[in-house]
Amino acid sequence: MTVPLAFLDSFSGAFDFIFSQRESFGGGTQVGGLGQVWELTLEHLKVSGVALAVSLALALPLGVLLGHRRTGELFAVAAGNAGRAIPELALIALLVAFVGTGTINVAIALAVLGIPPILTNTFVGVHQVDPQAVGAARGMGMSELQIALRVELPLAVPTIMSGVRTSAINIIATATIAPLAGVLTLGDFILARNVYGDEGVLAGAILVALLALTVELTLAAVQWALTPRGLRLQRTEASA
């Protein structure tokens, strides 16, 4: 009986940590509270946002190009899988050793993690667009670029966005280790246990989870807004 009670206790301690400042574990300074939470959340969002933007800028055009030409399947899938196999902590350590610390370097390291799901999903999404729709567009006299941007891309939105969402979650979760490379994100609460105490560690975990959920829901809304109405209708009918 004591175990679940202790669990609840540390949970309420974690929320207390989030809402009010307290003396640090080792003493000498004030930590926690909404002020610091806000500061670290902003930094977490900033580095994650830059990383996601870099991932999108690189993976989306490449995925559309390869998907449209229906070539490079090996590359798109292999890059996706190889990217997932890279240990992020090692990558960040390597980048710090060779490039330096700071937001940009960490964002690049995180982008390496964010590119694979977007690249693979964009390729697959564009690749699997109904050839008849593409044929019809071509018959109407659309250029290849128009076909890619106005037919294939919109029709691939649900698949692409699910890649973007995976990528965003990966990036936000991994940005937790950014304080080891000069960027103070919410991971600081988790990494510096001997400053924030166990309650700070738990608070950090809760905050990162909440942030990931919030971003996931936001992107789901973006996906809904971006999906062509025709596809939306199709889905509703299919599920009905």
Partner: protein
């Protein structure tokens, strides 16, 4: 597309590659060279009375702790005790809990860590002198039914380090010398350093220093940031292998105001174990640690961190070199 055999082959290749890479990374070479001949004065004699007395030695989860754990464990084994090892116990809260719960009988812990983390003393109250700190904490050990042995000669403490070339340019040898210069300098340290009195907070509050910037980094990168020029100053540890292998490259600034607390090691044991184990236990512990000077500890750390030798072998060589075992 999912059923394309080419994709499956490729996936298998990638998986095999990742696996092979992982296995290769796990391998390590352990060529050990034996130290010099021993002197018989230190020789630990096996006492048959100790046979059957079970002692479990623990340690925390990093190289220096593994080496220390091995030295004490192998020393006690030579004295005839039935020693088992439970090294790699995580941080001090885990190790100390293991001690309190009777999972281990003893482990080496740093003076400053015991006083601040376990006895809840304010870091600024920790004496700079290890012997003083050791004597002051006797009552607290007693209340917890623990026995602590006198501190090791070496102290493993935080230190402010920089490239020797930078130190020469700035003309600094002590931390106080940074006054008036620190506002142009970038200091790197572990993330928690910011809010710790035995780290950045102490430098700010007790030395009155203000830095241009504090860059949090993984402690594994504490020399890389200096080498790369990402930071002018970095929080190092006095027992670092790099200070042994590259003594001229890096300079450690003297802590002239004694802000960074004493980090000598105390071997902490359960009182019950000590009573059962008899006098050889304490004698062996104090004897094997008596040659652990800062230079020796740096060298032992270097052999593990740089030469990739096993802590077990390095500890054995130390015991042979100083004549504890043959």
């Amino acid at each position: 597309m999912r059923d394309d055999p080419r994709v499956r082959v490729l996936l298998a290749l990638v998986a095999a590659f990742a696996l092979a890479f992982g296995i290769a990374a796990c391998g390590d070479d352990d060529e050990g060279d034996d130290g010099g001949g021993g002197t018989s004065a230190n020789l630990i004699e096996e006492n048959p009375d100790n046979n059957g007395v079970a002692v479990t030695v623990g340690s925390k989860n990093f190289d220096e702790q593994f080496i220390l754990g091995e030295i004490y464990a192998q020393g006690l084994e030579a004295a005839g005790y039935d020693v088992s090892k439970d090294l790699n116990l995580g941080d001090e809260t885990v190790a100390f809990k293991a001690l309190a719960d009777d999972e281990i009988d003893a482990y080496p812990e740093y003076t400053s860590t015991i006083l601040t983390s376990i006895f809840d003393q304010a870091p600024e109250d920790v004496p700079g002198d290890a012997q003083q700190a050791y004597e002051d904490s006797q009552d607290e050990f007693d209340q917890l039914n623990l026995v602590a042995y006198p501190p090791t000669p070496f102290s493993s403490a935080n230190a402010v380090g920089l490239l020797t070339t930078t130190a020469d340019d700035l003309g600094v040898t002590t931390i106080s010398d940074l006054e008036g210069k620190s506002q142009d300098l970038v200091l790197a340290g572990s993330p928690e350093c910011r809010q710790r009195i035995d780290c950045l907070l102490g430098l700010e509050q007790n030395y009155g220093l203000e830095f241009k910037q504090f860059t949090p980094v993984d402690i594994g990168l504490r020399y890389e940031v200096l080498d790369k020029g990402d930071a002018d100053l970095s929080i190092l540890f006095t027992t670092d292998a790099q200070l042994f292998t590259d003594p001229d490259k890096y300079t450690v600034l003297e802590d002239d105001k004694h802000v960074l607390p004493a980090g000598n090691v105390l071997f902490v044991a359960r009182k019950q174990t000590v009573d059962e184990a008899g006098p050889d236990f304490g004698d062996t512990v104090e004897s094997v640690q008596s040659n652990l000077t800062l230079k020796v500890m740096q060298e032992l750390n270097a052999r593990v961190a740089v030469d990739k030798e096993k802590p077990e072998d390095v500890a054995h060589d130390y015991l042979v070199e100083f004549g504890y075992v043959e």
